[in-house]
Symmetry: C2
Subunit: 438 residues, 2 copies
């Protein structure tokens, strides 16, 4: 005889992901039972407005009062899917205080207030699951925490924002300017009315901070991550990238180097031979490099109702198994035990060493290239190749230079000097390249 | 005060992967402790010959007698890394009977005798971990079992043999014939002296059987998987594939269709736009498609000392956590509870519907193409495009046809008829294509 245990779930937030989670839990209840031996029941949902629930959700009650869900004594796991900092943070802290396990997909909250939330959860002996906070339906947090548990993680790199990747993909495939690709993404629902978080790399930095804390066992705030968005990328840069055998991607890059870590988000020239160059549209992908496993890449749908619902449901199932086995907190929230999560210095961007793409807008006069080359050489920056195209008397042309590996600070001062030349007509565009060794 | 628990591990088999596991457990003991709170000790190793252990392994004792490891009362987890069916199977059964948890990377054994082994383990309440059996260092079994636990898995597709993929990559990049690429792979240690298992798809079928049993909750024997290798692929096929925008990969493909499942391993034309086409060299990759998460792809190093050591170590850590929390068998070995693992009919290959590449070796005489087209049309096979190249009086030329989606059985009889034409000089080469919907 099989004794069925029931685990009750409460949900705050019934928007896109919330309704996806509800659909997942109801439609798959039988399958989850066959996999875990557990009946996982979504019993209470707090929503901003009291919509009519679809008939298959009828076992759940709907309320406008989040506290009613948080303080329901029958609920074991509270899922927070309203997003943003407040009131999400207060709800989660109240749920933890009430002894509930928490599942959330709130990357802004976790990346900025994770330390406080994880400490509260550890003190109370409850879990916080957050697979849905990075990479949508891709089970990358579990892979990193458990699948690569024997590895020292050397680097984490990825395409973590589907909106930005969609825009860059459309700019690449259709040669659209940024503004047009953005409008298209907004029309299709891939981009918000205010796209700043997505296109300026802020959302990507939040997600990188979460991954770094797990990968390296450290606390890091998103503000420590040098962040640059894609709004200044022009179709001409994408075209030149192609000529150099590269695609431009908004990449999150972090590396463990000695005691320090590197952490940055910026448009990046990725060689076409690298798998990350092939991640197109709204997809996400992350590459973990471990000292034993080598490079492991995971890709899939980085957002959306059902993919993110799948990730949130996986956390719910995981915690439900732990509740049923009385082994909650079996795996530490951030992979390392709290006492081993240490601060680590973040390398300033100025110390970064990587090859660069420089698009200089110069007047086509004799000796311009010689002057530019002389400045670069003076700062120890060596040139890998040069493309100069177009040739119109008295109109500026693009002089595109790929440098060998150079120090960021040196490139910055060299560019300041180059941009102050009489013969240079606009600020130089710099795009960092993924080096061969990466 | 932290109370440190110790979990002892015994190892049978000290070859490539065995020594990789030992290196992983010794070098990362401190890191694993910081992640799990557990001291995981490799205490006893059974090897064919009593080599001198490196100094860092000195806490382990070496023996030639596997039973000494199996019956050591202090050992909690037995790792089997000798490969092959016997004596590996007997060792594992003895270890289970002795109440030990087992970790193995033995795909041949699990795919052929898994049912018996998993039943024995379930009856005894011990675990069998087998992350290292498929995909080397890629944590794909954990991703499938736990990360996608809320999903109905619709398909599993992948490049699961690094040797075959290396050979095809070299044939593609360097236009080498099969035999030469194989020799190179053997020289570099990517291929065994007898490469049959790798190049004829047998190893891939073993791995697909393991993944299918987890994905669909079913028992399947490798013999139920239609299997065809890559030894008949010619550089000319790879060249034509390129003209059609495809790469040829040895693909494992399975799909859940109603009550049945499709299961096959064969050289496959993969459109370049598909991520699997970009998996090169000795890498492996698998794509799971779930009803919620959509497509999730994982790739990485499919074999090797440290990558496979990483996967085996992850299983050891996972089971050690369960031992320490008294929650062993927290997740069923094959994802579904044993009572829900049911037989499912496997669709015969003759029912397969997919587009095909056909390379017909024809004498360049008037009317040949018309005759071929007439035969195809008679069997309901419609042509998507034709390439005919080379033109030498009285010498056979290649007529290459891409068909639209066609039924395997119809193509088989049509080819029998085509190959019996006076004007056809050699058996036609058929390569199945990955359809658009996949």
């Amino acid at each position: 005889m099989i004794v069925m245990k029931t685990v009750n779930v409460g949900l705050i937030g019934f928007g896109t992901v919330g309704s996806g989670l509800a659909a997942a839990l109801f439609s798959q209840q039988e399958r989850i039972m066959r996999r875990s031996g557990l009946r996982i029941c979504l019993t209470k949902i707090a929503a901003r407005s009291l919509v009519a629930l679809p008939p298959e959700f009828s076992v759940a009650t709907l309320t406008k009062d989040a506290d009613e869900v948080i303080h329901d004594p029958n609920i074991n796991i509270l899922v927070e899917l309203i997003g943003g900092i407040e009131p999400a943070k207060s709800y989660i802290l109240k749920a933890i205080a009430a002894g509930k396990h928490v599942v959330t997909a709130n990357k802004a909250l976790l990346s900025q207030h994770g330390k406080e939330l994880f400490a509260a959860a550890a003190a109370k002996g409850v879990e916080i699951g957050f697979e849905g906070s990075v990479g949508g339906g891709i089970p990358l947090i579990k892979a990193l925490k458990e699948g690569l548990a024997a590895n020292k993680i050397l680097s984490v790199m990825g395409i973590l924002n589907g909106t930005a990747n969609y825009i860059l993909t459309r700019m690449t495939e259709e040669k659209l300017p940024f503004a047009e690709a953005l409008k298209e993404a907004q029309r299709l629902g891939f981009a918000e009315a205010d796209p700043t978080y997505d296109v300026e790399g802020i959302d990507t930095a939040h997600k990188l901070a979460i991954l770094m804390s797990i990968a390296y066992g450290m606390n890091i705030a998103p503000q420590q991550i040098a962040t640059e968005g894609i709004s200044k990328i022009k179709p001409v840069d994408i075209e030149f990238a192609r000529e150099f055998g590269c695609r431009i991607k908004l990449l999150a890059v972090s590396r463990s180097v000695g005691e320090s870590v590197e952490a940055r988000v910026h448009p990046t020239m990725v060689p076409e031979s690298h798998l990350l160059a092939s991640i197109s549209g709204a997809s996400n992908a992350v590459e973990f490099c471990g000292d034993l496993c080598g490079s492991v890449l995971l890709s899939g749908q980085g957002a959306g109702r059902l993919p993110t619902g799948s990730a949130v449901a996986a956390d719910v199932i995981d915690i439900a198994r732990n509740i049923s086995c009385r082994c909650t907190c079996r795996v530490p929230a951030l992979s390392y035990l709290p006492e081993y999560i240490i601060p680590r210095p973040v390398t300033p961007l100025s110390d970064l060493r990587c090859p660069c793409y420089l698009r200089i807008t110069a007047l086509d006069k004799p000796g311009v290239l010689a002057k530019i080359a002389a400045i670069l050489s003076r700062y120890g920056i060596s040139i890998e190749s040069v493309i100069q195209k177009g040739r119109k008397e008295s109109e500026p042309v693009a002089v595109v230079i790929l440098t060998h590996t150079a120090i960021e600070a040196a490139v910055t001062v060299a560019l300041r000097e180059i941009d102050s030349l009489d013969t240079v007509a606009a600020p130089t565009v710099r795009i960092r390249m993924l080096g061969e060794e990466e």
